[in-house]
């Protein structure tokens, strides 16, 4: 039968199921198909820290949200238009996020008395009118998958497991997605077990064909490709982009990259990714603890590598003493903090921006470092390069503040031309720099960058000792001289404060905004989407976003003071706002949320409109 095709400009789909149902993979595949079609995309995975929470329970629900459109989008979407619920727990956990009228596709096979009871449903919501406000599509996903695979040489368990591919097939049909990349993916993934390739492909096709034949799905949708800049794209998560940025930093500097890391959510993927790139000379050490991880990275930097350590908040706390040592030694070091909800173990798979204070101030003594934050998944690539540039040029630790939202979220990335990436080459010291021509002064600075020479072991004639004890200016000898200490503390501060960073840019299309929204890091997307919403209502608002948090752009004070009001939304209790108030004496309005989830554009829009009313 011929189905009606309806055009949409944007769709938000959320795949939700048990931790073991393969929802992250399903979402990933749908995203990849959507990328192939040329839509703009933004994704939001949301999963528990437990690998397999008890099956069918609310804590075990894992979901993946994908937003795609025929125009450029900034967020994974506030509310899903479509929910795929693989069991009653997935329905219950996600229902509150759905607007009335949304489509719900449920796997009816899982709506058993036992599974309903597990999440506190007295009666099946499919049987009463509690879902009357939605368009419910009951689909016997599991049994239809098993039926479709009856002739396949796979166990019942493996057949049931393929139900996520049935769901993917159905959704791919509904939204007219090209599926060749998924078939190729399945061939790669199960290369060692051809019977599973066949079963998964069959399940996918059964889902597709079900959509085409059943009368329950009367309409098929299309979302046209977005107008995007010409070039080659790939879909990329923040952690993957950050890893590639570090590899690129190695190539562009000509230095070996050394990663010391200890496994921690949500940063471990960077260790996994970098451990695959040995052919670039990338050396990874999974250390015995967080302290050893940063220690090894610092030792490698001392030896002439680009030393990197990757972690999350609790790990940064442990590394703090070694970062201070790196401040004293004045060696390059990149510390990646993929922030998660704290304090302590907090919510390890949920996002937050509450490590800003720690990054700026969390060390003993006066120990300034450079701090930068990426604004989106693909921006993690460029942020990693920028962190490496600052670390190598200014011989300083740099903290790169990613977070779980950008780390695991994804978006299309216009691949850069390798030759256009910054040149990060450095020069090691090769000969004595003292006036007598024979002495080496390890703390004689470059007058422009204030960086000291990087004299690596193996260089004859430059043998010298460095350490955590205060050093005399120029000679680096141990010094307890009061005036010298005062000078060295101020010099270390000046070293960071005078790093040239690009001016902050303001986006104010109307040019007459009186309110500025200032953000940093991963809130760029939601703030941008909210500002668009405000402007669509005919109001003016300006947006500026900080990439460099230490040092801050030179024009920031002037920009802030040119607006009547400054609003600072953050996923913490106002850490940037505190800095802005202290540094610039600007009475910023702090808007905060710490729910472990990114802001929705809608809630920010409402907040901004309230502010605008009072200008």
């Amino acid at each position: 039968m011929t189905k009606q095709i309806r055009q949409l400009d944007r769709v938000v789909i959320r795949f939700a199921g048990d931790s073991g149902d393969g929802m992250q993979l399903t979402g990933d595949r749908f995203t990849s198909e959507t990328a192939q079609l040329g839509n703009d995309i933004s994704t939001l995975p949301n999963f528990p820290a437990e690998i397999r929470a008890p099956a069918g329970t609310l804590p075990g629900v894992s979901s993946f949200q994908v937003h795609f459109a025929d125009y450029d989008i900034l967020t994974p979407g506030d509310a899903p238009n479509v929910l795929v619920a693989m069991n009653p727990a997935a329905l219950k956990a996600n229902l509150a996020d759905l607007p009335r009228g949304a489509d719900i596709i449920v796997n009816t096979d899982e709506f058993t008395k036992r599974n309903l009871a597990k999440v506190g449903y007295q009666a099946s919501p499919l049987d009463d009118d509690s879902l009357a406000g939605y368009v419910v599509h009951p689909v016997a996903l599991t049994s239809m998958t098993v039926g479709a695979l009856a002739a396949h040489q796979v166990s019942k368990k493996d057949a049931e497991r393929s139900k996520n591919m049935f769901a993917l097939g159905l959704l791919s049909w509904m939204y007219s997605r090209p599926y060749e990349s998924t078939l190729r993916f399945l061939e790669r993934k199960f290369a060692a077990r051809p019977e599973l390739v066949a079963a998964n492909v069959a399940a996918f096709k059964a889902g597709w064909n079900f959509g085409e034949t059943t009368e329950d799905f009367g309409v098929r949708y299309e979302v046209k490709p977005a107008k995007m800049k010409p070039g080659t794209y790939r879909n990329i998560t923040g952690n993957a982009a950050l890893s590639l940025g570090l590899v690129a930093a190695g190539v562009r500097s000509g230095l070996p990259v050394f990663l010391g890391a200890y496994p921690i959510t949500p940063a471990s993927d960077i260790l996994h990714e970098l451990s695959k790139h040995k052919r670039f000379g990338v050396l990874t050490v999974q250390a015995e603890d967080e302290i050893a991880a940063v220690g090894a990275a610092l030792g490698a930097s001392y030896g002439g590598s680009l030393g990197v350590t990757t972690t999350s908040g609790p790990g940064v706390a442990l590394k703090s003493e070694t970062i201070s040592l790196a401040v004293a030694l004045e060696l390059p070091l990149v510390i990646v903090d993929v922030q998660r909800a704290g304090p302590s173990t907090g919510m390890p798979t949920k996002t937050e921006q509450a490590d800003l204070n720690m990054a700026l101030y969390g060390r003993h003594g006066e120990a300034p470092v450079a701090v930068i934050a990426p604004r989106s998944p693909s921006d993690c690539f460029f942020a990693a390069l920028e962190a490496a540039r600052i670390a190598l040029t200014y011989r300083t630790p740099v903290i790169l503040l990613s977070d779980n939202y950008v780390a695991n979220g994804s978006e299309p990335w216009l691949l850069p031309d390798v030759e256009s990436l910054p040149d990060l080459r450095v020069e090691f010291a090769t000969k004595p720099n003292g006036e007598d021509g024979t002495t080496f002064l390890p703390y004689l600075r470059d007058p422009e960058t204030l960086a000291r020479p990087w004299a690596i072991p193996g260089t004859a004639g430059l043998e010298h000792r460095i350490g955590g004890l205060e050093k005399a200016d120029k000679t680096g000898d141990i010094s307890y001289d009061p005036a010298n200490h005062d000078f060295m503390v101020r010099t270390r501060a000046a070293r960071i404060e005078t790093i040239p960073v690009p001016d902050i840019e303001v986006e104010d299309p109307d040019g007459d905004a009186r309110v500025l929204v200032l953000g940093w890091g991963s809130t760029y997307g939601p703030i941008g989407a909210a500002c668009r919403g405000v402007r669509q209502r005919g109001l003016s608002i300006a947006q500026a976003h900080l990439r460099h948090l230490a040092p801050m752009p030179a024009n920031l004070g002037e920009v802030l003071r040119s607006y009547d009001k400054v609003v600072i939304p953050e996923m913490n209790l106002g850490q940037l706002a505190h800095v802005i108030r202290a540094r610039y004496l600007v009475d910023a309005i702090s808007y905060n949320q710490v729910r472990g989830l990114p802001f929705t554009a809608a809630e920010l829009e409402t907040t901004l409109e309230e502010v605008l009313k009072n200008v």
């Binding site: 790939r234 050394f258 040995k278 050490v285 015995e288 490698a300």
Partner: protein, 344 residues
């Protein structure tokens, strides 16, 4: 990196211009002098030698060596040295540490460096006291020790550093004494020649806070009866007149000391540092009593095991061997890998 210069170095070449600031009479002076004198015979250029230390009196050591050096933070020297050594296999990396630095705050890094068999020469100056912080008991202080922080006597059982190192899978374990320069140099020589981690405990006297801690091992009137000088391939006998020996007791697990006259010569254990099973070296490490009687010195264990550095470098070399493109070409290929699409 420049080529090594074929100039014969002397002890003087290894002395830095820094004033040595240990207390007068400290055992560290003897160790420093012994090492400065010994370094030239390794024929390793000074610029390829790096001393990394933590915190404590012993950890000031790198400042006094005219090589590359890093005085780092408390307990972390093995971790920092691991990053340096594994990324720079051309260097000779030495860690200088103390009983507090290595066994208390840095215990984790020490055991993991040893199990990985990182190519580090780890010298633990054991004076059984915290010196730099002015006299608290350390993880090697004896039970009941009265110190500033234990006025009623320490309640802690001490570590036996060699037993700990052996339990951590160390491939080379030795012990020597600050005051016996010749012996100290012989153990360091063996350590330097060892591929992988070499762990050397050096009994060192703190004349301010724990003076005479090892006196019985140094006093000419007692030392021969207290010290067991291990020699590879030689029967283990000791005492001024060779009156004591070490045997495997029948039915027992470890080693015991007997009167030489009371056993048949073939019952005396012949020292073999290359025994694969660490139980033998462990049994040696358990011989000393609380009064320091039966203290073995020398090389307890020296077995072949690939160093971490060599395995890691081999993996890197294997991966790089397949590369035919320039780094930029490789990078362009990596960035464009996976599912891509092109918009015209």
């Amino acid at each position: 990196m420049s080529e090594p210069v074929a100039v014969k170095l002397t002890a003087k070449d290894f002395k830095s211009d820094q004033e040595v600031r240990w207390c007068p009479g400290c055992g560290d002076y003897a160790i420093l002098a012994a090492i400065q004198q010994f370094m030239p015979e390794l024929n390793i250029p000074r610029e390829r030698t790096v001393f990394v230390s933590g915190i404590g009196c012993s950890s000031r050591f790198p400042y006094y060596m005219n090589t590359y050096g890093m005085h780092s933070i408390h307990g972390r020297a093995p971790a920092i040295a691991t990053g340096l050594s594994v990324s720079r296999p051309d260097l000779s990396v030495w860690v200088v540490t103390g009983d507090g630095d290595a066994l208390s705050i840095g215990g984790n890094h020490l055991i993991h460096a040893l199990r990985r068999n990182v190519n580090l020469k780890i010298l633990l100056f054991n004076n059984r006291i915290y010196g730099l912080t002015k006299g608290q008991y350390s993880p090697t202080s004896e039970v009941g020790k009265v110190t500033k922080s234990t006025p009623a006597g320490s309640a802690d059982a001490p570590f036996n550093p060699l037993s700990l190192a052996l339990g951590a899978e160390a491939s080379f374990v030795g012990r020597t004494i600050d005051s016996d320069r010749k012996h100290l140099q012989s153990v360091l020589r063996a350590a330097a020649e060892h591929e992988g981690s070499a762990f050397v405990e050096i009994y060192q006297n703190c004349n301010i806070f724990n003076d005479g801690a090892f006196e019985q091992l140094k006093d000419p009137s007692t030392r021969d009866d207290y010290l067991i000088r291990l020699e590879h391939g030689q029967p283990i006998t000791f005492g001024a007149d060779g009156q004591f020996c070490v045997v495997h007791p029948p039915g027992g697990f470890g080693l015991e000391v007997r009167d030489t006259n009371s056993v048949r010569p073939e019952e005396i254990v012949v020292h073999d540092a290359t025994v694969t099973d660490p139980a033998y070296a462990f049994a040696l490490s358990r011989l000393p009593g609380l009064d320091l009687r039966n203290t073995p010195i020398g090389v307890f264990r020296s077995v072949d095991r690939p160093s971490y550095d060599s395995v890691v470098q081999a993996q890197l070399a294997a991966a790089k061997a397949k590369v035919t493109e320039t780094p930029e070409q490789q990078l362009a290929g990596l960035l464009g890998s996976g599912d891509t699409w092109t918009i015209i």
